[in-house]
Symmetry: C2
Subunit: 362 residues, 2 copies
DNA sequence: CTGAAAGCGCTTACAG
DNA sequence: CTGAAAGCGCTTACAG
């Protein structure tokens, strides 16, 4: 073990660049060059300075650095467009918090939104990343193929990027922040099964946006859900209900037909944040005997939870995801400090009793 | 609405003290005096500068401020001593995280530990706060009377303090961070009742440290627990088991006797973080039919959860509590930014299925 | 009561 | 390849 002198340990004053310069018999500019690997430095000076650097525990004063350099950097955040009360509004809350902190270190944030149900809109957003240049990118990789292409471009230009919400492990992302979808499905299954008979039928509410299938995340959650049922000896039937965000009358007909055909249904689940749709139906029809589990603590779901129309919600700290995604990039750019590549965000379980405290997650 | 020019909105460059000085026709030192309400300033200059300040949206550059002032401040954190794997070790994790950030703004942290089961040790820690002077204090107010005395002293010396873990509302604390204990009790009751018959007996494990009664927090949790049972028509019997941290043989005898006398017990609960004691007993005696709910995601509890000896844990983000307590003080000291006085930390529910992801809560 | 000047630690042209 | 010097925005003695 090398003997090191550290100010905090020894009571010595903290080491500055001038100190190093003096010890190495060079100017501060040369020390700066070595520290940042920029410009040319003679072999001799390089060796001397490195020798000093090895002796002392130099910790750059980031505040001074940021003040002196005056350098501003710009990040681009590419996430779905949202309205108030939507899931992505909560992610934005976290991003805004990070933005406030990042500004102090000279980092600005540019937003770029896309329609999460419309692949071409994602591709248009990706074009911005091509046309302009950024120091880093946070992106919700909703659409696989365009994302892979985009990632190749970013890799080529050596622009670091962070994934939020869902992951594409084959990409060279700096970090990923999101909940483990498969286990999120298992959790939902457990919450439902704790309260219904193992032979009762369960409705799966599927929100249909367009002909294509659901998101990767929803699919993984469903797999986890089914896995749990298999493991625990479930022997009822899983029924599917196709619902639309924009067609209440159609939803009503769909559900009326389903419940008429299967009076024994005792549970329901949705794998995205729209369980308030099903909850509204159950509530309106007085079906308090049907247990419903869904995802995300958005206000409309929270209201249904409070009313008792939803049994439990599985939530995923969207603000934390937004905040940490941005901060990971800041840490990297400002201090060169890497973040873990995969950062599973905790899966939160909300009942009526603890929902009221599930707010400021920052 | 007053018209304000803000750099971010208008593309104008950001306002500095020199700009204000120029606009008011004074020196930067005088502007500084007005901004910080320090030193004497003539009526006339005061008026001029305030007029300018009203026009522009001056946002001090905190980085420059901290660099220039070179002022260091010291906070004192007074929390229970702990060993690895204890609850308070997790709180310390959050404190250490905050410390790293705070250092950049010239804030140092001093620790002061006490024995959470020993009031005199708390009083000794309080003496440090009297003898030395700090710019702010974070404190876990375990013991009411000495804390009230200490708070009076801090108030008199105008030293801001933040409570963590539990609250004493009659004190003039800058902020409080902790979970709502009563509802934490209700949540535990719900978790237990979802899985047992309303007429089954329930054991309450009480950890006895010394003759005195348990902490305020435990008592409140128990009240919430009982309230939930009352509301939901529970009609079994609540049985009490007195356990000790340091007497496994005694615990064994106590529980053997209890379970022998009450073979119908189907549930158990503890209101502090030691449910691993009860879990160990149940596991060793093959009592998988007894559902157990406890508090805090410390490692020993987590292991029992994974094994299935604990049904669910209610957790309270100790790292977040530690982190935010310190940061609240930093925000106040550095920027004069106040925090909400009461900050309820979310109540987390952990099952075997989501426990693995309940780690880095920061 | 007020302002000129130095300085916090680091970076950045610029001249050599 | 190197170093002296200016400057980032703010604060702090100090002289007046």
């Amino acid at each position: 073990m090398e003997e090191r002198l550290h100010p905090d340990d020894s009571g010595e004053r903290t080491i500055r660049i001038v100190d190093i310069a003096r010890m190495a018999g060079v100017s501060t500019a040369t020390v700066d060059r070595v520290i940042h690997h920029r410009g040319k430095v003679s072999e001799q000076n390089l060796a001397r300075i490195n020798a000093v650097l090895r002796q002392v525990d130099y910790r750059p004063n980031l505040i001074a650095r940021s003040l002196a350099s005056g350098r501003r950097r710009t990040l681009c955040v590419v996430t779905p467009a949202f309205e108030e009360g939507d899931y992505w509004a909560d992610v934005e809350t976290g991003i805004a918090r990070a933005e406030a902190q990042a500004r102090r270190y000279g980092i600005d944030i540019r937003r770029c939104r896309f329609d999460q149900y419309d692949c071409p809109s994602f591709e248009r957003a990706a074009e911005v990343l091509h046309d302009e240049t950024f120091d880093g990118v946070v992106i919700a990789p909703f659409f696989r193929e365009p994302m892979l292409a985009l990632a190749r471009g970013l890799d080529a230009r050596e622009i670091p990027y962070v994934f939020v919400d869902s992951d594409l492990p084959e990409c060279n992302r700096l970090a990923y922040f999101g909940t483990p979808s498969f286990d999120a499905g298992r959790v939902a299954a457990r919450l439902l099964c704790d309260r219904i008979d193992p032979s009762a039928d369960i409705v799966i509410g599927r929100i249909v946006h367009r002909p294509g299938e659901g998101s990767v995340q929803c699919r993984l959650r469903e797999e986890g859900f089914r896995a749990y049922l298999d493991e625990t000896g479930y022997r009822g039937t899983l029924l599917s209900a196709s619902l639309r965000l924009d067609d209440p009358a159609g939803n009503e007909r769909e559900l009326d037909a389903l419940f008429a055909a299967h009076p024994s249904v005792a549970g329901a689940v949705t794998f995205n944040s729209t369980c308030h749709l099903l909850a509204g139906y159950l509530s309106a029809h007085g079906r308090r005997d049907v247990r419903l589990v869904g995802y995300d603590a958005i206000r409309r779901n929270g209201r249904m939870l409070a009313e008792g129309a939803v049994t439990a919600l599985v939530a995923q700290r969207p603000e934390v995801q937004g905040y940490r995604s941005v901060m990971a990039l800041c840490d990297w750019l400002v201090e060169g400090r890497p973040t873990a590549r995969i950062n599973p965000i905790p899966l939160d379980i909300l009942f009526k009793e603890n929902y009221p405290y599930y707010n400021n997650n920052l």
